[in-house]
């Protein structure tokens, strides 16, 4: 092993670590799914009527408020 110079390692490596940035992880789980659905919309943009596209854009626009609030929470260090 290059690290610890070939000695037998000391101490435990597989310990419990705190997963930090928890609000960001929650936002990631939500937006991951949204992103995939957006790809389905983007591909069929030319074949579906414009009203349907406006619904998707309205949904994205409405998503701005929760996104802003989540960011407001996530940027506070005590929530990490």
């Amino acid at each position: 092993m290059p690290f610890e110079s070939g000695q037998v390692p000391q101490g435990e490596a597989r310990t419990r670590l705190v997963m930090q940035y928890y609000p960001y992880l929650l936002m990631f789980v939500v937006f991951d799914v949204v992103g995939m659905f957006l790809f389905a919309w983007g591909m069929s943009y030319r074949t579906i009527p414009l009203d349907a596209s406006f619904l998707v854009l309205l949904f994205l626009f409405l998503l701005a408020a929760p996104l802003g609030y989540a960011l407001h929470l996530a940027l506070h260090r005590e929530n990490w």
Partner: protein, 343 residues
């Protein structure tokens, strides 16, 4: 397709027909295996040379050819003959197989990357999603490898790799969404065909910037190379790898560098399109190498940023810019500004 041989006398013509068939050539020779290996070897040498020039050094010099261009071969021979050390209490199967899996996940997406109108192995209808799906497996694989090597610093590096994915992945997808809107297709061949008159870099410039920064984070290049931060984490998640395992890991990493730069070329820089005096694959590889150069240069220039700064950058700047470009693209498409370029 080639018909199977019926008699023993047909075997030789069958083999010749197989070897000279377009499918075989695309898989083994040009966009496939041999071309990939050569470019990856070239990239390792090229990165060292570029970094050396930035820092007023010379770089590899003695390993034959002009400017030590045979250095990758010398490195490869050295690493193959080094002893593979597996740490005490490490998870041996995972430690050996995960690097091979990483090479697999980096090499397979090249099947859908079009190097020319006919130089593509498989024209998948969902090519873009296919590439994203395979490359997004990297951080989890890295965490498994880091956990398997039973050491403290690799584990911390693996966790950081996961946090990094939280930061870059959504902006990367949303910025690619603008391109999908402009081209109206997820197939990479269709996306390049739609750029015959204008590169998507022009109507989707914000997306281009966001995508470029996001792939810098994905490739763990310097402003964002938190998972392998040398001053803090020894060598990050590949600290314990040595010998052949180290070589295979680096093969995967440089293959991914080539993959993501070719993805930038496909999505934003017009793929194989260029003036006709050079063949299409040459234009493609030229553009890709220029993109790779711009990914390499910051490694000699910038300092590293913190994990929380990266995540904040991803969610408050990149995501907002990418979403703004999606709205802008819909606006451009509906006002007909782009109709003169056939979009």
């Amino acid at each position: 397709m080639v018909n199977l041989p019926a008699t023993p006398a047909d075997i030789l013509p069958f083999i010749i027909a197989l070897v000279t068939s377009h499918t075989f050539i695309t898989i083994v020779l040009f966009p496939g295996f041999i071309h990939l290996m050569l470019v990856v070897m070239f990239l390792t040498w090229y990165e060292r040379k570029v970094l050396a020039r930035i820092q007023l050094r010379i770089g590899p010099l003695y390993a034959g050819g002009p400017g030590g261009i045979l250095q990758p071969i010398a490195d490869g021979v050295k690493l193959i003959f080094k002893e593979v050390m597996i740490p005490y209490k490490a998870n041996k199967p995972l430690f050996i197989w995960i690097p091979l899996a990483l090479v697999f996940f980096a090499a397979v997406p090249f099947a859908v990357i079009p190097f020319g109108q006919h130089w593509v192995i498989a024209n998948l209808d969902v090519g873009l999603v296919f590439v994203f799906a395979l490359t997004s497996l990297f951080p989890s694989m890295i965490l498994i490898f880091a956990w398997a090597s039973n050491s403290k610093y690799p584990f911390l590096g693996g966790l950081r790799s996961l946090f990094q994915q939280v930061a870059y992945e959504i902006p990367m997808w949303i910025s690619a969404l603008s391109v999908v809107l402009l081209a109206g297709s997820l197939s990479l061949v269709d996306i390049v065909n739609a750029q015959q008159k204008i590169w998507f870099m022009v109507p989707a410039f914000l997306s281009f910037v966001v995508f470029f920064i996001a792939i810098m984070a994905e490739l763990e290049r310097l402003p964002f190379d938190l998972p392998e931060a040398e001053p803090e984490l020894v060598a990050g998640w590949y600290t314990e790898s040595s010998g052949a395992i180290f070589m295979v890991l680096f093969l995967a990493l440089y293959m991914k560098l080539y993959l993501m730069s070719s993805l930038v070329t496909v999505l934003f820089l017009g793929g194989w399109w260029g003036p006709a005096f050079l063949p299409q694959p040459v234009w493609f590889i030229l553009k890709t190498l220029i993109v790779a150069t711009f990914i390499i240069i910051p490694r000699g220039v910038y300092a590293r940023i913190r994990v929380d700064m990266l995540i904040k950058l991803g969610w408050t700047r990149l995501l907002i810019l990418a979403l703004a470009n999606v709205f802008l693209t819909v606006l451009l498409l509906n006002t007909g500004v782009l109709s003169m370029w056939g979009l």
